[in-house]
Amino acid sequence: MTNQEKQMTETSTAPVTAPPRRALLDTTVQLDRRKTASRQKKIESLLKEFDWKFSTGISLLEFKATVIQECLTIHNQLRRSGARFTRVRDALLEKKGQQISLRAHIFNNVLQVFAGSFDITEEKDHLLAEKARLLLENIIPRLYDWFAKESVDTVLNARLDCDRAKEPPRKKTAAFEVNIPECKRGKNKFCHVEEVIREEGPRLLKSLEPHVAASEQLQRAAEVFQSVFTNPKADLSHSNCRNAGDCLITLEAKGKATHALSSNAKEWKPLSDALGFEFVHITYPEEKTA
């Protein structure tokens, strides 16, 4: 445990005061804090009730693999010679993928800022592409910095020590480096994920047993954990860790957080119950009625 984490987990010895409330934020909560003004306002208002707020290295890995990766994908297409905004947008939105709505969100936001009421000529299309590319170039490293250094009091990573989380996006001459390289033990991987899974996994899976059948995510996590239990030489890469993301995030914060905040009750409520967090379900009912 780092000194900062020790400081945050010690309760006050002064005359009776409430113990510090320490919130663990799920990755989607982190994204929502930047996505829309209404969600940001709601979450920030809620976070004022807490003394400390945490995220984790695995959450930062997920943020890199989703938000930052989508920005990089769009940037890579826009920087190609002769790129046109409308064509890049059409091509990337025609593909199927988990993050397609996030991708559309980014393209639409670029349009609101740089478009106007005009027929898009070839020249304007190139200009839109150039401006979108330059803006993404500006914000890609800043998104990482915001998450890692500003968004929370600390990004917990002492237990799992995820290496991929520690790597900020780096730009070469024209393109950014590969966002998340494959993990190879001894070369670029020095984390403790398998150790933590062997230590904490059996007890956690037992607590989650009643919920696994109803949740595909918990099933995937259970498969990852089992592969480590049964193979002493198991060597997970980041994609495996992401499959067990919710479990690993909560394991990292075990003993440190008092509350867990997520919009995903299906997995996070049972995880919170298993690991001793009070679950705070974040919803946006005003968006459904609007």
Partner: protein, 217 residues
């Protein structure tokens, strides 16, 4: 006047440089009138003259200079002029605030500044794309937005910072984002952050043969 001062100084000068008189991009050796002037990026205010000057060559150089000022001076002047024009426009906001918001009457100034920012985007001042990156960063905050005091303050501060920069680099972009943060603006507006827009835009496929469009035009 500026050209004469510069050309005189290029032969005999060994003191601190004024920004308006420095036409050479730092770090690059340049030849002028037979002299090779070398400058390192770590020495912003000193100038080494690598070879000795010859008076005749210097005079010929001055004559050539008067006929055709180096391109970088002209570009830098354009850049400064645009920044000064933006600052002038920002000075007109005084009576155009309704509380903290810019009033409808102030939209005239907003439109003028947006147009000047577009001109600034195409100005070839500085190395690489740093000026463009700063301008799109600024535009990400002010385009299609309901301006308030934060936008006016942000613009004033970034343009004041920018106008005296001869060397534009990543630090300039960093400074721009720091100023956004100071004013409480959303740094990710226009990418991850959904902008609160005055007008909503969308892409719509248009049929070139649609005769009703021709009538409306």
């Amino acid at each position: 006047m500026a050209e004469q001062r510069f050309l005189t100084n290029s032969v005999s000068w060994a003191g601190p440089a004024t920004r308006e008189a420095e036409p050479i991009a730092k770090g690059e050796p340049a030849a002028r009138g037979g002299q090779k002037i070398e400058r390192s990026i770590s020495e912003p205010s000193s100038l080494k003259i690598a070879t000795s000057s010859v008076a005749g060559e210097g005079q010929a150089s001055r004559r050539r200079g008067l006929e055709k000022p180096p391109k970088d001076i002209a570009v830098y002047r354009t850049f400064r002029r645009l920044c000064d024009r933006i600052l002038d426009e920002l000075g007109k906001f005084g009576p155009f605030f309704a509380g903290d918001q810019v009033s409808d009457e102030g939209v005239e100034v907003v439109a003028e500044i947006e147009a000047l920012l577009e001109e600034l985007y195409t100005c070839p001042h500085g190395q690489g794309e740093f000026l463009k990156r700063v301008v799109v960063a600024v535009q990400s905050q002010v385009n299609n937005a309901d301006w308030d005091r934060r936008h006016v303050t942000f613009l004033r501060e970034i343009i004041r910072f920018l106008r005296v920069r001869y060397l534009l680099d990543e630090g300039t972009v960093d400074a721009c984002y720091d100023l956004m943060k100071e004013q409480g603006l959303d740094r990710f507006r226009g990418t991850i952050g959904e902008p609160r827009a005055v007008k909503r835009y969308r892409l719509e496929e248009v049929d070139e043969n649609d005769k009703s469009r021709e009538t409306n035009d």
